[in-house]
């Protein structure tokens, strides 16, 4: 799949997302439920703002000395007999995984959830290696998507949010011979049994990495299901894919961030399983005899040394998706990237460029909910403005076309010049008064005191497509005129 989940335009994806009412209701329900759980978890901890400062300081420090920590980590992995491959891009990462899988002549591969593996498009490559490749996504949501013919994820923490229990029952019945009902408990048991059989035969385990522990060469994995733990115990070969920024100095910093992650992502104190593991120890009988870590850049370094560097602080908690009022309405697929929502709108252009992802920074009212909730204090809404600035001012990529750009520039001139603004004030009433009006004004109060416009042209068409536009008062009744008289009267 890679970074992109669709070849359609933003407008086309938006149209499609409007059709799936279940998915939309699911997102709203998820946001509401998560709001309560997340806020409660944070309140119970107390001093949340201070914890955010701590988490931010850890992430910023690590990014500042990223080369040092990557060096320390890779040295420690190698010292224990493990193999580290630094991949500049998706192709290099993909080729390395292919190399190892072919070397092992492995056919049975289990994967536990990792966005990076999707980003570098591992699955189609693995499937193509032989006819009898047996690839299993073991995270329940990813498993559901895989069984549903490799459907795309719509959320970074709850990838199958857009699927309801009936759809899942149908998929399981068709593909797995499931004969039970749509009760999630029974669906989950079916998944567990199916996957357990495949786990026990697995030869290679591919995982992501919540945080690489620099001073030990271990990997920290945080899950509720336990699939990552089976993946690092049973297969003899383990391949870890990690974004280069997913690293901490020691287990102490990982522990702090795991706490922030669990409370922010799912409103839990910790996820059920928080694991620190690496190469099999000399006296262990299970665990990977052969341990590989692929450290991936794939565009992340584009952010370094720029205003966007802060986006690399992200710990993939998904809280920003869960508070975003735009994501709430349009869902994950509309973003066209495996990283949707606010974090995705900042990250996707950094990784994948403006040609493909330039729409995303504009799909926001800049309400700031994302910035407010981010546990590592990334100022997401400000970075969206920064993307817009780069596109408008630096690259001259005018988002809505030249005419809207002309109108925006006119607004810019009009609001900086008292003379022009004065003219606008004089003309506002006349200009609006001639447009098609609403026959009846039902909303009382000063907003529609002078009438309501039903249809307006140009930039204002977007307004009247959705709602009525107030008509401005005649010049002599405007505020500044009143104020002059008011002061004179005194």
């Amino acid at each position: 799949m890679g970074l992109s989940t669709s070849t359609k335009t933003f407008a086309e994806r938006l149209e499609e997302s409007k059709k799936d009412q279940f998915a939309k209701a699911a997102v709203a329900k998820a946001q509401d439920a998560q709001w309560d759980k997340r806020e409660l978890a944070r309140d119970e901890l107390g001093n949340w703002q201070e914890w955010r400062n701590i988490a931010e300081s850890i992430r910023q420090h690590t990014l500042k000395y990223l080369p040092h920590y990557l060096t320390e980590f890779s040295d420690n992995v190698a010292a224990r007999g493990g193999h580290v491959f630094f991949a500049a891009d998706a192709k290099e990462a993909n080729d390395y995984v292919k190399r190892i899988v072919l070397e092992k002549n492995a056919k049975k591969i289990v994967k536990s959830k990792s966005m990076v593996t999707t980003e570098v498009d591992i699955d189609p490559m693995l499937v193509s290696l032989a006819d009898d490749m047996d690839i299993l996504e073991t995270d329940l949501a990813e498993f559901i998507l895989q069984v549903a013919d490799w459907d795309e994820p719509s959320h970074i923490v709850f990838p199958a949010l857009h699927k309801n229990r009936d759809q899942i029952r149908e998929i399981f019945a068709k593909k797995l011979g499931y004969e039970g009902d749509n009760n999630p408990v029974n669906l989950a048991r079916c998944a567990r049994d199916t996957m357990r059989k495949l786990f026990l035969k697995s030869e290679v385990g591919i995982t992501g990495c919540n945080f690489a522990i620099a001073n030990t060469g271990d990997i920290n994995l945080s899950t509720n299901e336990g699939n990552a733990d089976l993946t690092i115990s049973i297969p003899k070969t383990q391949i870890v894919l990690m974004g280069m920024e997913r690293i901490v100095p020691s287990i102490k910093e990982a522990e702090i961030l795991d706490n922030m992650l669990a409370r922010s992502a799912v409103g839990q104190k910790l996820t059920t399983y928080v694991t620190f593991a690496g190469q099999q120890a000399d006296d262990e009988s299970d665990g990977p005899e052969d341990f590989h870590v692929v450290i991936v850049d794939n565009g992340r370094s584009n952010a370094i040394g720029t205003a966007f560097e802060a986006v690399l602080q992200c710990i993939r908690c998904g809280a920003c998706l869960n508070v975003c009022p735009v994501y709430r309405q349009i869902g994950g697929h509309a973003y066209g990237s495996i990283y949707p929502g606010p974090i995705g709108s900042v990250l996707s252009p950094v990784l994948g460029g403006y040609e493909q992802y330039g729409d995303l920074p504009y799909a926001s009212t800049l309400c700031g909910a994302c910035t407010e909730t981010c546990p590592v204090k990334i100022s997401l809404h400000e970075l969206l403005i920064e993307h817009r600035k780069v596109m408008e001012d630096d690259l001259n990529m005018h988002h809505d076309g030249s005419f809207v750009n002309f109108e925006m520039n006119t607004i810019g001139r009009g609001t900086s010049s008292p003379a022009l603004f004065g003219m606008a004030i004089n003309m506002a009433h006349t200009g609006l008064n001639v447009l098609p009006k609403a026959k009846e004004v039902t909303v009382e109060g000063s907003i529609f005191e002078y009438g309501a416009v039903r249809k307006a042209p140009a930039l204002a068409k977007g307004w009247t497509d959705v709602r009525d536009l107030p008509i401005a008062p005649p010049h002599k009744e405007q505020f500044r005129q009143w104020y002059k008289k008011h002061k004179a009267g005194k």
């Binding site: 909910a369 817009r388 900086s416 609403a438 109060g445 405007q478």
Partner: protein, 256 residues
């Protein structure tokens, strides 16, 4: 005490009644107001669209307009919030940086000023038992950082039952130019917001941000809904009972 009125481009163009209400409330407290003529707009519409270079003349003009003010009190939370962003827009060494800092330090949104600077809670406003609900401005809450003042002041309005709004934390879909450039998404957001408002059974919708009010009221009117929409300044200026106005904590001025 002298206060400069920050009228905002939207109020100047469209809603004089709101500005009048704010001036009347302030002057009733014995405050002297002025209206610096040079002011136009805080620059949000163009700045937030990414036209940062193009916004600088607008922003500098705004800073210049209030240079000699003691206090700057604004009618819109998002516009006053924008002033707090001004200092980041100038580099060290640029003379405007300090001017921007000075402006941010003396600038307040209306309810913020009443509560935080004057220490007032009861402005004497009186209603007849109507039900109302309050929509919170995202920028006022998150960028300006004023979460409490509007609620505290509304609580002391006599005869007004303020009902909680479901999904208070969700944006109404205005977002400045977003409302015209992304009408499809804006429509979805404002539809949910109007449904939430109507679900409370409120007869009056209140907000401290004119952008939000234009957006929501525009949708309510399009749907033919009967409801009254008022800016919080208008609420606080309704049927004022002077006896109830708290003694002002700032001893600098006398009650009218």
């Amino acid at each position: 005490m002298k206060v400069s009125i920050f009228s905002t481009c939207v109020m100047d163009l469209m809603f004089p009644q709101v500005g009048i209400a704010m001036v009347e409330v302030l002057e009733r407290l014995g405050i002297e107001t002025d209206l610096p003529e040079g002011q136009i707009c805080c620059g949000q519409p163009t700045y937030n669209s990414g036209l940062v270079k193009e916004s600088m003349p607008t922003i500098k003009n705004q800073i210049d307009a209030f240079e000699s003010s003691d206090y700057v009190v604004g009618i819109a939370g998002s516009c006053s919030g924008m002033f707090t962003e001004y200092p980041h827009m100038f580099d060290e060494g640029d003379p405007y940086k300090q001017k921007a800092i000075d402006l941010a330090n003396k600038s307040y949104e209306f309810t913020q000023f009443l509560y935080r600077v004057l220490g007032l809670e009861d402005l004497g406003a009186t209603f007849k038992g109507e039900k109302a609900t309050y929509h919170r401005s995202c920028h006022m809450t998150r960028i300006l950082g004023e979460r409490e003042a509007p609620f505290i002041l509304l609580d002391k309005v006599k005869g007004l039952e303020v009902l909680p709004l479901p999904h208070l934390e969700n944006c109404c879909g205005f977002g400045g130019t977003f409302s015209v450039k992304s009408p499809e998404i804006s429509e979805m957001m404002v539809t949910e917001k109007t449904n939430d408002i109507l679900s409370t059974g409120a007869e009056i919708l209140i907000s401290a941000d004119l952008g939000c009010l234009m957006n929501i009221a525009g949708k309510l009117n399009r749907e033919g809904k009967k409801i009254r929409v008022m800016h919080i300044a208008e609420i606080l200026n309704t049927n004022v009972d002077l006896e109830r106005i708290d003694t002002v904590k700032n001893p600098e001025f006398i009650r009218a």
